[in-house]
Symmetry: C2
Subunit: 149 residues, 2 copies
């Protein structure tokens, strides 16, 4: 069997969807962090253009149903998202801001074994976000970390 | 208290990290889907530049430890990632390809209530990926879906 010439899946992550208990509560939380949601009268879902990849907030039960899987309580989801920032001071400032916005600080930022500076917070549903400074991954003009070539 | 002028968090998703049982197994799975990993001798972690957002594969226990949270078995994680493609035919072709590469088809693609065409597959650790065609979100030249302005 021959593969098609164009790859069937682009090396591009279109969306990440977080299943949440209450879309309005979670939307307000992420708006409080400074993010602008895409316009729309929809109350059952919210979309944020995170500079190329879209962050979606969708009812957890609806997401399970959409995927055709059983919902279940979770403690650790085996998934984290991250913001990479330009300096340790920027990470500290971001954690102070997140705490003021009601984010739960899971792990305050500190120097980590791989040479960076990082901590974690949780959103209202316990979804984990890391905020990190990685001195080995320079940020481009759009703030996107550049992997080694 | 006054907020700083520059927002502390950029509206940009730097990374999504999937916690996996075996980084080598998962790396091979994603390479089998056609993705090129960033170079590096590291065997405990793998990075893929997904066109702006980085996909990381990292040991599940190591990820729990990194975040300072307890590991726990999960069934449904309340998280999905997605590829948006240009047509229903492209979605069908992608599912056929994923199945040949050993991905588990959780939900074969079909027309969905919001007017698109979508299905789900799972990676070796059960992380959910949607492959969808959304006629309301045109793709730009880089294949990135464009949210309504």
């Amino acid at each position: 069997m021959t593969e098609p010439t164009a790859p069937p899946l682009p090396q591009h992550l279109s969306l990440i969807t977080l299943g949440v208990a209450d879309v309005a509560v979670s939307r307000a939380f992420y708006e409080g962090l400074g993010f602008k949601a895409a316009p729309g009268a929809e109350t059952s879902v919210a979309f944020f253009d995170m500079s190329g990849t879209i962050l979606a907030l969708f009812g957890r039960a609806a997401l399970a149903d959409d995927a055709g899987v059983a919902d279940a309580e979770t403690v650790f989801r085996g998934v984290s998202c991250a913001f990479n920032l330009a300096s340790e001071a920027a990470v500290d400032a971001a954690f102070a801001f997140v705490a003021r916005q009601g984010g739960r600080i899971v792990k305050p930022p500190h120097k980590v074994f791989w040479g960076g500076y990082s901590g974690y917070f949780a959103d209202p549903d316990g979804h984990l976000w890391e905020i990190a400074h990685n001195p080995f991954w320079p940020l481009d003009a759009h703030g996107r970390p550049q992997l080694p070539k």
